[in-house]
Subunit: 110 residues, 2 copies
DNA sequence: TTCATTCATCGTATAAAAACGATTTAAACA
DNA sequence: TGTTTAAATCGTTTTTATACGATGAATGAA
């Protein structure tokens, strides 16, 4: 009875929602901030900094990767992650467009 | 075993995550777009436009309201909703700051 | 080759989200 | 007062997310 109906909406809305969902957990915001702060972005360093188990951090990294916001490369026994700037910028621009559209309409709201 | 640990993160990260979560469903993006498009923002009009049951739309409206992104006023037997511009702008600015911060760090990523 | 390190994945448990129908509430109107 | 209309809430089901420990795979070092 609770089948999701996300497909019933437009592509633009779905893409924006996917982007927002990737950012919808403080752990993933923290991960992005850490990736931005460091030259090296090793999974283990994130585990040290975050109040979560290693497996949980790995799971969040996977979600960010699936969303396309980060890239991961294997570096020996370690994994190095970094922000996928191109994807992130695309999503950000789409979101900014929505924001601008909403803003313009603001004046005549009830 | 799966108690949420969102409280273990910073306030800034939590607030951003809450904002993103409110936008993390295409129905809620569509609702915001509709609110921006119309002079009147009656719940029933949204139900007509969206591919969802009335109770489900009401639920999404409630979430947007709890997140602070919209305001609702009772208009006779109807409910009139509009975007809470101030809150929306605050969140948007916070998000833009994060984006800028990430962007500056981009050059020295692995 | 063996062992330690690092991370991903699996299995599982709990919590939250999404969706709907049915019911309730509240206002407008006859 | 009773009836209609509109929307919120309730109860329920299904799906997804969050979190962890345990296991597995792959690399690097002994």
């Amino acid at each position: 009875m609770a089948q999701h109906k996300k497909e019933a909406f437009g592509t633009k809305e779905q893409n924006l929602a996917t982007f927002a969902k990737a950012l919808s957990h403080p752990a993933r915001i923290a991960i992005l901030s850490q990736l931005a702060k460091r030259n090296e972005c090793i999974c283990g360093e994130l585990v040290e900094v975050l109040p979560l188990a290693q497996s949980t951090v790995s799971q969040h990294l996977k979600e960010l990767k699936i969303a396309g916001l980060i890239d991961g490369t294997i570096d020996g026994p370690r994994s190095c992650y970094c922000i996928n700037w191109k994807a992130f910028e695309k999503f950000y621009n789409d979101f900014s467009s929505l924001f601008t559209k909403l803003k313009e309409a603001n004046a005549r709201c009830c």
